[in-house]
């Protein structure tokens, strides 16, 4: 595994705090914009407004687990620990968004379908996706050796991310309660603008969370390395 000095250098926050403030301001704006500008839907009424939180949350879940996949493959290929730390950061953030997606789906499902939960393909495959990444995070906390932890969690991360296209296609492959995905052609422009803006806002927040979590992970590894090196009397600053 690559353990060059740069892996253990403390990271720099740089312009990321400013990026965070801008992202949050944009997120607040897009939420208000979407709610205020979208009229009540003919079929769903104001429940349609749940689309602006549920769908972008699902989108960033898929995106975060896509990052886990890419970083895990890179870690197994190049054996650079930084890729493992990126994958772990993305898995943590993606798991939170996945849980949010599931709960928002339940809140939407109860008044629409009359039930909080149904074991249909979309809901079940999303739950499986969530549980895989909870297992991923649990695995990381059990394994202390960084190399073994990286290899095992990369394998689980790749396995979990493979589930993403299954979740995406589940509404087409199986008969489900969940509706088919909306697309720009099937959605009225008055709803589409708010949805796209929220996609962007959620994506910016996800990037910010992953980057700052990665920063924390780098500090943790830098501290471990410094204390180990000091114990051996070989740390040269």
């Amino acid at each position: 595994m690559t353990t060059d000095r740069s892996t253990f250098d403390p990271p720099k926050a740089g312009w990321w705090p400013a990026f965070g403030w801008v992202s949050f301001a944009f997120f607040a704006f897009t939420q208000v914009y979407a709610v205020v500008t979208s009229p009540a839907d003919r079929m769903m009424g104001h429940m349609q407004k749940m689309m602006y939180v549920h769908v972008p949350a699902a989108w960033v879940t898929f995106l975060a687990f896509g990052i886990v996949l890419a970083a895990s493959v890179l870690f197994l290929w190049k054996e650079d620990e930084r890729h493992d730390l990126i994958a772990a950061s993305a898995a943590e953030v993606g798991s939170v968004f996945c849980a949010l997606t599931l709960i928002l789906g339940m809140l939407w499902g109860r008044p629409t379908w009359g039930v909080w939960w149904s074991w249909d393909a979309r809901l079940t495959s999303t739950l499986v996706l969530f549980l895989i990444f909870v297992g991923y995070l649990a695995l990381r906390s059990f394994v202390e050796d960084p190399q073994r932890r990286g290899q095992w969690s990369a394998a689980v991360g790749i396995l979990g991310a493979i589930n993403v296209p299954i979740v995406w296609m589940s509404v087409k492959w199986w008969r489900t309660l969940h509706q088919l995905q909306s697309n720009p052609r099937s959605l009225d422009p008055v709803y589409l603008r708010g949805l796209m803006l929220n996609f962007l806002a959620f994506t910016l927040l996800m990037v910010f969370f992953i980057r700052r979590r990665y920063e924390a992970a780098r500090y943790e590894r830098a501290a471990e390395h410094a204390s180990q090196a000091a114990a051996l009397g070989g740390y040269d600053g």
Binding site: G45, A99, L107, R110, F209, A216, A223, A226
Partner: protein
């Protein structure tokens, strides 16, 4: 109908904001704690 469903809409937005703000607090707290631990290790080892 409209009144009974409005509660679900409000709950979904409140939940989203709680989760987003909670994640912000947790992530920034993790960065701060990890940085302090790193600085404590470095100062403890090399300034003593």
């Amino acid at each position: 109908m409209a009144e009974s469903t409005l509660g679900y809409v409000v709950a979904s937005y409140v939940l989203t904001w709680v989760v987003i703000l909670g994640m912000l607090v947790r992530v920034l707290g993790a960065v701060r704690q990890a940085r302090h631990e790193y600085e404590a290790v470095v100062k403890g080892d090399f300034n003593s």
